[in-house]
């Protein structure tokens, strides 16, 4: 048993700190996912992605032949923690490509697909930006109920249907999409396949959906007789559901590390705030209720750190972290909610001030989290769905739905 970071990881942390100081303007506020909304934010984010790629950090755990560094999963986890701590944008390039499209192609894509799609992701190229088409109007938590059809015609699939809540579709070059290829399969999960769709294909329409703060992160995407080369089938036809279970584990596996990094920074800023802020001449940090709330948040962060390291370690042993990723997602969501509550309670009336106002405290990061976390809790699987997965896969309980 040994929980020490090696010198290599310590050195990496130091290098990331230097990178953040050099590349990120001091007044820059990293609002997770918001960068997909405004053109200038997106351009800045992609410029950082390019620099991260040049440093070899964008996909550092990938094999060298696909543009990676063959770094350990632990180094990658440290990178995610440290980059989110410093608010470095661009690690996800949207969110799909680096986190799960790449690893999924390496798991069950063919060599031709890997050669074609991985290098643009690894180099931080605009052609390496992906979106993911899973959810549909009638297939949210009941994901297997998707209706988007792909019918094989010669060397092509013809895709018809609609996806929704598709983050980054308005920025993406490619869509990683789940479709029905066998509508008559005895079980819905036996008729699903994964395709790669070029977002420039005729028949693809992207319509913005604004979130409740007016920010453009996700979209509706319509597919109207979109012709997709059969070579864009990933893995086996009708095996998509089982492949996806693995992809989702990748999607969720580093969520905990992201929340840890950003949460640690937020906790530190709150500590600084309560030490400096005085009421009737007494620092807020002397208030026992505030002291205990911040201590509780610190304990939750420490727990999330260990759970994140554990996933990296298990992945290094060849384990695909299915229940572990769901566990960290569910725990991380819970932590974010508590952090947002503690933060807004500490800021009091100031927490209602618009993030961009000169009156906002702590650069408006607290209210941003308060507004963001409900969405994050739902994205990539609601807590309820994560708990179903954990119940089934780890505790061996009967299917509950």
């Amino acid at each position: 048993m040994d929980f020490k970071l090696s010198e290599k990881e310590d050195a990496l942390r130091e290098e990331i700190r230097r990178f953040a100081k050099a590349e990120i303007p001091p007044d820059f506020v990293s609002n997770f996912l918001d960068e997909e909304s405004r053109d200038e934010d997106w351009a800045f984010t992609m410029s950082i992605s390019k620099k991260l790629a040049q440093k070899g950090w964008l996909v550092m755990a990938w094999p060298k032949k696909y543009g990676g560094q063959e770094a350990s999963y632990l180094e990658q986890m440290v990178l995610v923690m440290e980059a989110t701590y410093w608010g470095i944008p661009g690690l996800g390039m949207g969110i799909s490509g680096t986190a799960w499209v790449g690893p999924s192609l390496m798991l069950y894509g063919n060599e031709e697909q890997r050669q074609k799609y991985l290098p643009p992701i690894a180099s931080g190229d605009p052609d390496g930006v992906w979106c993911t088409g899973y959810s549909e109007p009638n297939a949210g938590s009941d994901f297997a109920n998707i209706q988007t059809r792909a019918v094989r015609e010669g060397d092509e699939y013809v895709v018809n249907g609609q996806k929704v809540w598709t983050s980054c579709a308005h920025r993406a070059r490619w869509c990683w999409i789940a479709v029905v290829t066998d509508a008559n399969a005895p079980k819905k999960t036996h008729g699903i396949s994964l395709l790669i769709v070029d977002m420039k294909s005729p028949g693809v329409t992207v319509r913005p959906l604004l979130n409740y703060t007016g920010v453009h992160i996700f979209n509706e995407v319509f597919f109207d007789n979109v012709r997709v080369p059969a070579a864009n089938l990933v893995g086996q036809e009708n095996r998509g559901w089982y492949q996806l279970m693995q992809s989702l584990a990748y999607e969720r596996h580093s969520v905990g590390a992201q929340i840890y990094g950003a949460g640690k920074r937020m906790l530190e800023s709150l500590v600084e705030y309560v030490v400096e802020t005085k009421q009737d001449g007494v620092s807020l940090s002397q208030n026992p209720v505030i002291r205990h709330k911040l201590s509780e948040r610190a304990i939750e962060l420490e727990t999330l750190k260990m759970l994140s390291y554990e996933i990296a370690w298990k992945m290094s042993q060849g384990v695909i972290p299915i229940y572990e990723a769901s566990r960290n997602k569910a725990y991380g969501d819970c932590l974010q909610e508590r952090m947002a509550n503690t933060g807004t309670e500490i800021l009091g009336a100031y927490s209602q001030i618009d993030q961009n106002s000169r009156f906002a405290k702590l650069k408006g990061t607290i209210q941003h989290l308060y507004l963001l976390f409900p969405g994050i809790t739902i994205a990539a699987g609601t807590d309820e769905i994560e708990k179903n997965i954990i119940g089934q896969f780890k505790l061996g309980l009967p299917k509950s739905y």
């Binding site: 048993m1 090696s6 770094a71 002291r291 304990i299 708990k387 119940g391 505790l395």
Partner: protein, 385 residues
């Protein structure tokens, strides 16, 4: 995408630690079944001397003692593993008080002759020890220690009352912290003494508890102690108390982590077996999600405990990690023990079932070595608040 190189971190227990865990689990399941735990709740001594002797023969009491004192010279993590298994099985008895609260500080602060005299009998299971620290407030702050020792004619004379002294009813020796010098700073002027429990002037009164686990009020009236029985140095008491609390808190948390895992396992098994509405109750999401919440709590606690034990084993500073771990253990044990009862329904509320044994043990574990508020304060101080 497999890789290993450069990956130093390791969440595995060693083969030897796994063997120790398996051995402990086999032994405790066989020799200390829940029927015995229930019997011992009513027993005057509060432990089984046959089981105790077997534990000593397997080397458990001397696990972390050096070979020169008959020990196995094992790692702190090994002891942590053992405590997890004892917690899993809720083994009643004075192991924790003897080893965690007394043997460890004797090993650290004892002089050669004290170590030679006291450690080997502990390792052989011949002598039982306990720590007499808390007083009527039940708190682990230095200011709560009022018992006094005065030097009179070359001898130390101890007066005062200690409260919540674990297994004093069967102890051969007491490790007593008392005030030797009055000082404005409560941490100053405290000293540890090794006291034979049979000395004249000592009165031990058992405090009945929710579990039958033994706690006592120990009164000292003009108890004479020779200078050679000072442990450590005069005035070093609080430093030593903190040393004891640090290590013992991690071991207590390991016990809690083992108990929590046991509760989860029992509840999970029951949820698959108990049929209502024609289905196992574990197929209902309300039950399933409660079990998942328990799992997330247990795994989080385990990793905090393992991290703290590992930090201690390498001698790294870890006050904040220990404080976090104890606060977490307190919170998690309460929550999981209650969920365990709820999932079992009415049967969980009976003496026939074992799950209630855990629920009744929560408070003893929570308040020993300091409550949640005390540890949250330690975390707050470490955060710079």
């Amino acid at each position: 995408m497999k890789e290993i190189k450069g990956f130093k971190m390791d969440f595995n227990f060693s083969e030897h630690q796994n063997m120790l865990r398996n051995e402990a689990r086999r032994f405790l399941t066989k020799e200390c079944p829940k029927t015995k735990v229930k019997e011992l709740e009513k027993d005057e001594k509060g432990y089984d001397s046959v089981v105790w002797r077997h534990m000593a023969e397997m080397g458990w009491m001397g696990l972390v003692l050096p070979e020169e004192y008959g020990g196995l010279n094992a790692d702190f993590i090994d002891l942590m593993v053992l405590m997890e298994e004892m917690g899993r099985n809720i083994l009643p008895g004075p192991f924790f008080s003897t080893v965690a609260l007394c043997a460890l500080p004797i090993l650290e602060y004892g002089n050669d002759s004290q170590k030679a005299e006291y450690l080997a009998p502990i390792g052989r299971g011949e002598k039982i020890w306990t720590l007499a620290m808390t007083e009527s407030s039940g708190e682990y702050r230095a200011s709560a220690i009022k018992a006094e020792v005065k030097l009179e004619g070359g001898e130390y004379v101890l007066n005062g009352d200690k409260f919540f002294v674990s297994y004093a009813n069967v102890a051969d020796y007491l490790l007593v912290i008392a005030r030797t010098v009055k000082s404005k700073a409560p941490e100053k002027g405290l000293t540890f003494f090794i006291v034979d429990a049979k000395k004249p002037g000592i009165h031990i009164e058992t405090i009945p508890t929710l579990t039958g686990e033994k706690q006592s009020r120990v009164s000292f009236k003009n108890v004479k102690i020779p200078g050679k029985d000072i442990l450590g140095k005069v005035g070093q008491g609080w430093e030593m108390a903190e040393y004891i609390m640090r290590k013992a808190a991690v071991l207590k948390c390991a016990e809690v982590s083992g108990a929590c895992q046991a509760i989860l396992d029992m509840a999970n098994t029951y949820a698959k077996e108990r049929i209502q509405f024609g289905k196992p109750i574990g197929s209902f999401q309300v039950i399933q999600h409660q079990l998942v919440d328990m799992l997330i709590d247990v795994e989080g606690l385990q990793y905090l405990v393992y991290q703290a034990a590992w930090l201690i084993s390498i001698g790294a500073p870890c006050d904040i990690q220990i404080a976090m771990t104890k606060a977490k253990a307190n919170e998690v044990y309460r929550r999981i023990a209650l969920s365990g009862i709820k999932i079992h329904g009415a049967i969980g509320f009976t003496m026939d079932h074992d799950i209630g044994l855990y629920y009744r043990r929560v408070l003893g574990a929570e308040f020993v070595l300091g409550d949640t508020d005390m540890y949250l304060e330690k975390v707050a101080a470490n955060l710079g608040l």
